[in-house]
Symmetry: D2
Subunit: 352 residues, 4 copies
């Protein structure tokens, strides 16, 4: 009666998203990890890079697609953009399913992709086929997807925060400011000076003001949901902590509305979602309350001070490595294979 | 075929160990949390104190033993010492099983207990019955225990580090120094100035040098395992982090021995233990590698420099809230009820 | 030839701003600290509360104004609001100068004060006399002030960020959003659960959205500088670090302007300021680069994406305990007494 | 009347010790920094690497000794070992004074140096001439030194902790265990994975057990002070903080002695020292209390539990970048040039 486990492989698994994918998939009741690759650490036991993961029996191997294709049914891609493009295309041609954690299949317009990622997209027809993997918006499409483009961490926090109201007529779509605060793990595990402990600790800074690559991704999704062409102002900040994104989102309202009414919209929108928690009136999301879990916590506030009328302030909190990356990827796999959507993901966050 | 879940209650559940017990028990496949108490927060939803635990359907209630006795089969006590003494006695008389996370049933000698805790032990016969809940040493006794005294966090890290060698004739039992480094959650959740963020952050300090209450507990267990009367030097330190205890343990050797031989002793001793991981030669335990998990990571080193001969250096790492408190408590429950010993506990640590 | 030192007293000196005032004034070439008060710690040596300040020869004493009046020429008030009101009035009547670090003499309109601080202002005529102690704006008035109202930490970061452009006609004064990120020391040293290490560490959260008491203070100053009635949107956030405020400020522009032109306005405005540093084009302020110093680092950016036209993004960084509190207080004293404005303040920040 | 400033150069100034040397020397009343070198950043303004140091007028330059020799009177060397050896020799031959922050002139025995640093010492006669720059022990020699070997950070914390008692007959010199906890800045600024934020944060680990290069340096100094050949056990640990070393030192006593008597020895030994503070009975040193200052805080405790008799426990705290590196270097310069020993160093630590 128990079905044989789904065979999964992680390509480019030596970074922090790879670590979390491994952790989640090793504990998942329906899958078996059959391969994990790392060009630099091929041959090494997983524990050599991940001291916390011991006795897995897994060694890193080289990215040899001919070999790997035979080993698994579904492939998680944690590869650099461009490499991901080609790898996804190869695996797709071989009849495999792909969940791509890079940005390569997220931006639907190849021109926009080229502009922000400085490289052409060589598989525009595949791009059209790929589904943007935000289950709260595209669950039905993800069910049938063969390539799922796993969303970026900032876009997840921003789009989940805005989705319930972005298309509404009381919202001014030209006024959106997204001020995001992120932990350091989003920057990856490669050693560079700005992410050394002594540089990050006891410091907060903005970076990539108005030029972060997640900007067009957020704009694409907000435009798609609202049916309007939306441009945003997006400012990411680096925080002295491992994990977590808190996005504080400001939207002007065109006409006044009551807070309970807005809160009602959020509760309705996310009523059946297993991973989105709309907090009680006046309760502030904190990244620590979602740390280590796949939850997105949301709260909304109204500001009546501004001379320009009411402003809606939405605060969203996610763990950038879970709901913002590897957790969402597992959620997408669960949907693509008809597993319980929460399988392998239903741990509460550990606190503190 | 599926049996009805075991009904469990947590008494004194508003602190950090309560939070972890709740998290672990809510995710445990064989139990149902039927009550959790807090004198100060009675009536409040669990989420009011624990922002990370939502939709549990649980409210804190007052500690009314007549009411509570009917609600559960097994009781986790996170109460202050002395209160725990009496509560455990009451519940035991009512035929309930108790897992006591306080120190009240750990110290077997009532005189020693009185000396260190400044209060007499009023139930010396129960004390005799209670089992010290360190599964790696007392698994068989725990199976039949009605009161399990869950070990202290420092003692767990120290005793697991020393157990494989403490009785051996090549070890000098009069030379043990335990230098422990602990995260801040061990100090509890009550607001006191020394544990404010700005006091702890960016600082390391020793405290309670030679006077910490875990000293007699460590000595009792080392004496019991070795069959010798052992006194130790124990220095705890406070670290700027939430969780984790790293204990660096120094023991002089009476005669020379090779490192592989010592390592072999450790591997043999813990061969079948699900939660103790003896690391490869030269690999250093890190608290981050066990953070959020029930593992204890161990590594041993030999120092040949000292003029007094060889010294064995043992480094152990645990999460003080898991293997050092709530995780161990769940492990003990699993043993007491014949569940799979790893039920509800087999998550790998999230990293980073 | 060397003049006798100015005698200074610190009232309410047992918190973090008191600690920094003591440190700065003990190292100041022109002053002598003659008294420091603390109700709870009266009689204790300063080192009992401040382990870092040893051999000062100072003991905390009770707040007895009749005694204290004779001891010093200038008084730094780190008292709760309301107490500060009355204490300043008493000292003023006794012919003493006052630098008030509370909010009591900042808000010029007694009605606004009453609304936000829930208590009437009993000395409205003194309020009129008091000077808002932001040297970059009010230096000439501070020179002659007898009561200087030392600015709040958030207002300092916000007002210094906006002052060079707020009155300009290309700026839309109804569009100001101030998203501030603060270290924990701003919350003071009294033990309360939300500021315990394990609550703050590894977490980011917003608080007091649209309701923080610094809101009317910022509005007052922006209105005063611009000559327009300005209302703002202000969202403070709590960061897992000791010190530092980073404010990210968004202002819509009414007509397009070039970045070099805006940068020129900032450089001109702050050309002769010893403590404001306008960073090179593209360089991001970081709180760590001002930690432990009295500097305010500023950088400006233009966003051209928004559908509503250009938005100016200003980022400012200060140390909340220095330029945001005690450093500014010493700077104000230097101005009031004709000392070199940088006396006792010209240390570069230690890094890291 | 004011003398022309002493001209100082920093060779290899782009790391954390370089940053602190620059900060201290730029604020020093008697010196002028005339050059600072960095091979990788030659040509860049100092602020490009050190955001906190602005408007210094200094640019990094290449290490060209013929050019540099003409520029300064005294040279601070923050170069890798071996390079430092040769550079010091060249500058010495040119009649310049050298303060070497590398290990090259610390180890007096060329054989020991070769064994631990894997390279021969090419200037053994200079090595003999060089003075170990620990002012509390060698002040008179430093006054006349032309090459001062600035001590390592761990050795400073250990030797200052042991110096008052190491030669005493009540101490067992064969029993010394030094368990040190260090912040991350000691590891330097070069980007390597183990010192990335996400690797260090929320973690504690031991490293280089019994094999750290500071071991022979500590042994040399303890042997020299005591007149006995001393071997130690030294275990360094990495802490999640920027700065600070706390060393917990265990020494067995040969005969019993009272705590007040030992405390008296410490107070006497350091009575006139401007930078060593012996704390009151029962007060625990904390690295935060010396952070950003040149102080070393010391406290002693007696343990009477151990079966082997009394053990003395000494706890010492320093800022590894100040008293453990750049602060000590400036102190040494002050001594070498007859300046007030505390010039440029007498800031109290900022707290928190």
């Amino acid at each position: 009666m128990p079905k044989p486990p789904l065979k999964v492989a992680i390509l480019g698994g030596s970074g922090y998203t790879g670590a979390e994918l491994l952790r989640l998939l090793l504990g998942h009741p329906r899958v078996k990890v059959t391969a994990v690759t790392s060009e630099r650490s091929a041959g090494a036991d997983v524990s050599a890079l991940f001291l916390h993961l011991r006795n897995t029996g897994l060694k890193f191997e080289l990215l040899d697609l001919n070999v790997l294709t035979k080993k698994a049914d579904v492939f998680f891609l944690c590869l650099p953009h461009k490499t991901s493009q080609e790898t996804a295309a190869f695996l797709h041609a071989a009849g495999k399913k792909v969940i791509d954690l890079s940005a390569d299949y997220r931006i639907k317009d190849p021109g926009v992709y080229r502009q922000w990622y400085n490289t052409p997209h060589l598989f525009p027809s595949l791009l059209k086929k790929a589904v943007y993997g935000l289950p709260e918006i595209y669950r039905d499409k993800i069910k049938k997807a063969s390539i799922t483009a796993n969303p970026g961490c900032y876009p997840t926090s921003a789009v989940l925060g805005l989705a319930p109201v972005i298309g509404k007529n009381f919202v001014d779509p030209d006024s959106i400011i997204i001020d995001s605060k992120s932990g350091t793990s989003g920057a990856g595990r490669s050693p560079v000076q700005p992410f050394m402990f002594c540089e990050v600790n006891e410091s907060v800074k903005a970076y990539a003001v108005s030029s972060h690559r997640h900007t067009p991704e957020i704009e694409q999704e907000l435009s798609s949901i609202s049916g309007k062409s939306i441009r945003i102002i997006f400012t990411p900040h680096l925080m002295p902590m491992d994990r977590g994104i808190l996005s504080t989102i400001y939207v002007r309202l065109r006409k006044n509305i009551s807070l309970p009414k807005v809160q009602g919209l959020y509760r309705d929108f996310y009523r059946d979602e297993p991973f989105v928690r709309v907090l009680e009136n006046g309760v502030y999301p904190a990244t620590k309350a979602v740390r280590g879990s796949n939850f997105c916590d949301l709260s909304v506030f109204l500001n009546n001070r501004g001379a320009g009328g009411q402003t809606l302030i939405i605060v969203s909190a996610i763990d950038n490595l879970l709901k913002g990356a590897s957790g969402a990827a597992v959620q997408n796999m669960n949907i693509m294979y008809g597993f319980d959507e929460t399988a392998g993901l239903l741990t509460s966050p550990p606190f503190p």
